[in-house]
Amino acid sequence: MKKSKSEPLFHITKRDVMPWYKTWGIRAAAIVAALIVCGIITTITTGLNPFSVYASFVQGAFGSGRKVWITFQNMSILLIISLALTPAFKMRFWNIGGEGQVLVGALATAACMILLGDKIPNVLLILVMTVAALGAGAIWGLIPALFKAKWNTNETLSTLMMNYIATQIVAFFTVVWEVPKGSFTVGIINQATNAGWLPQLFGSKYLLPIVIALAVTAAMYVYLKYSKHGYEIAVVGESEKTAKYVGMKTGKIIIRTMILSGALCGLAGFLLVGGINHTITTTINSGQGFTAVMVSWLAKFNPITMIFTSFLIIFLERGAGEISTNFGLNQSFADILTGIILFFIIGCEFFISYRIVFRKKKETTSEK
């Protein structure tokens, strides 16, 4: 670049790979900055002093033994959904249909519990529930994948539409199964017999989803990093042309990955109905299919990092929930704070991949 008067004040260049502690330093700084902004906004709306705002956050997530368990339970469900979406995202298949895939999994589970409860032994019932939930989720993931593989249909929109179709199917069955008639709720399924309720692990009703989530995390890490499938997913994601050139059947990979993605979402639905809520509603998943997209992306599609990002999101949700109950504010306050923090983290990625070079500085040898 020649030095002349017309050279701009600064220009932007791509960075080489940063050491990991620096990237995490930038992300941590972004989170701190976001928390400060959140604190200011909370102070303006509630009149609290900022420090008690942060105290309420911690109180909401860790205030009591029960709260800690619920925090980890919610986190494990979100983690499973995020992990489910990750292989699809890694091959640049924007599956934002997690919501629908979880819902059909939950619906299949509830259907087994209602129709087969007390008719077959409990162990068998739970087995059937698992298979049905995974299968239903897989089918819901398979449909957009087929369209994508065959006709290159935009998957962002097709998976999105599948969400609403799933919601209406659940609404339909809610009316069919409603107890009592006209209430538009299914109520607790098999309350008397507990048929199909997932067993407690070591006497704790919260532990099972957590253990399953950790197992899925480990399995997904190995699958993506060390298996042939994981490698193929990465190649398709980086460049579909390369994948075709080396003879990979991209259509087959897309379909296979989406079946896995959908089935894991179905697993989350299975845990929600069989292990936690014991009922089915259209909002049982409360938008976590969308939140999971951000959890997965924030973690840069790394399953281990996802433990922290899902924790961060759930911590915020629980904390903001606590603030809204304490001050009679609306629950949506959590969404605003989550949004702000996401903006900061999304924005900070720029400073990880690019650097700003000012005019005054001597030309550095950063460019390759």
Binding site: I165, Q168, G339, G347
Partner: protein
């Protein structure tokens, strides 16, 4: 009996928010930005207008006049959606963040803002009213021509809407003309198809991306404003706006990036959105109503697959849709 004269005005009423959202998103996508934050923007557009109208109604204490009653909510709504557009642009254009993730975060944020202020506005402002019902402001927004009711079915079909409904159609036509018939539109399409080429031709890519996205957000935000002030008669209820924002994004594909087709598509979808009310089910089979509500989404999915099957060159999305532009990267 199926009453077509009653059905069409309702379908058009439903179609206006969709059309605003669709036109705004087409403009945005033509610049190569896929803004999945439109649902959030529409919530913000709606609630900003509500806040403006609420404050004005409280301050004026009954002595309202037409001009500020319309201009204050309108200005607030435009400002609210403009801020959302700027957030999106700063993140995706200046900071080159992933557009899908930014969009989803904006939707979370925007819907959160809408529901939060919708639920807490009364408590926050300390006003002495039971719920947000801006019926007076709504009267100004939904006022139709005085002689419309005297013209029978003609007046009902064509003249019974508030001014924002006509604005939606005018904006859609204007957007089509600008995109396809003017030099600015040509530049905009060039930016969306191949930013590097546009840059080499001396077009300031980032300025076009900023302008198109912010303008698109402001148009989409009007859809939220129309919904609250006209369609819902000034009553804000949380989540009532629902998934119209997502449908608007789907409509963009349905109308193959042409706002003119968007007009007809949105009327069709407006009809599909409420058609379940008109299908007789009887009291014993209420559950089937839930299945009929599925129709717009199934149709969208069907059309989506169909357009991708036909795969015509002129029906494709802008080539650089979803990608950030970085000048120094060739």
């Amino acid at each position: 009996m199926f009453d077509i004269v009653a059905f069409i005005p309702r379908a058009i009423g439903q179609s206006v928010p969709l059309l605003f959202g669709c036109t705004g998103e087409i403009l945005t996508e033509k610049s190569g930005n896929l803004n999945l934050g439109i649902p959030g923007v529409m919530y913000v557009g709606g609630i900003s207008g509500v806040i403006g109208a609420f404050v004005y109604e409280q301050q004026s204490a009954g002595n309202m006049s037409a001009f500020p009653a319309i201009m204050i909510p309108l200005a607030c709504s435009l400002l609210g959606s403009l801020i959302m557009g700027l957030i999106y642009c700063i993140l995706t254009v200046t900071l080159r963040a992933n557009q899908n993730v930014t969009g989803l975060a904006m939707t979370t944020f925007g819907v959160g803002i809408g529901n939060f202020f919708g639920g807490s506005l009364i408590k926050l402002s300390g006003a002495d009213v039971p719920s947000i019902a801006l019926s007076k402001t709504s009267e100004y927004f939904s006022a139709s021509l005085p002689f419309a009711s005297k013209l029978g079915w003609f007046g009902k079909l064509f003249l019974s809407y508030g001014f924002l409904a006509y604005t939606a159609f005018i904006v859609a036509i204007a957007a089509t003309v600008i995109i396809y018939k003017t030099r600015v539109g040509l530049h905009l399409r060039a930016v969306g198809e191949s930013p590097n080429t546009a840059d080499a031709a001396g077009i300031n890519v980032n300025v076009y991306k900023y302008m198109a996205t912010c303008l698109g957000c402001m148009i989409a935000g009007l859809g939220g404003l129309y919904y609250v002030m006209d369609y819902a008669s000034g009553v804000w209820s949380n989540d009532a706006f629902g998934d119209r924002g997502w449908l608007a994004i789907a409509l963009v594909i349905f109308s193959i990036w042409n706002p003119l087709i968007g007009i007809f598509a949105s009327i069709l979808f407006g009809g599909l959105y409420i058609v379940y009310l008109y299908i007789p089910t009887g009291m014993d089979y209420m559950e089937f109503k839930e299945l009929y509500k599925m129709i717009p989404y199934v149709v969208t999915l069907f059309v989506l697959v169909l357009t991708s099957m036909r795969n015509k060159r002129e029906n494709q999305p802008p080539a650089s849709l979803g990608l950030s532009f970085f000048r120094e990267e060739r």
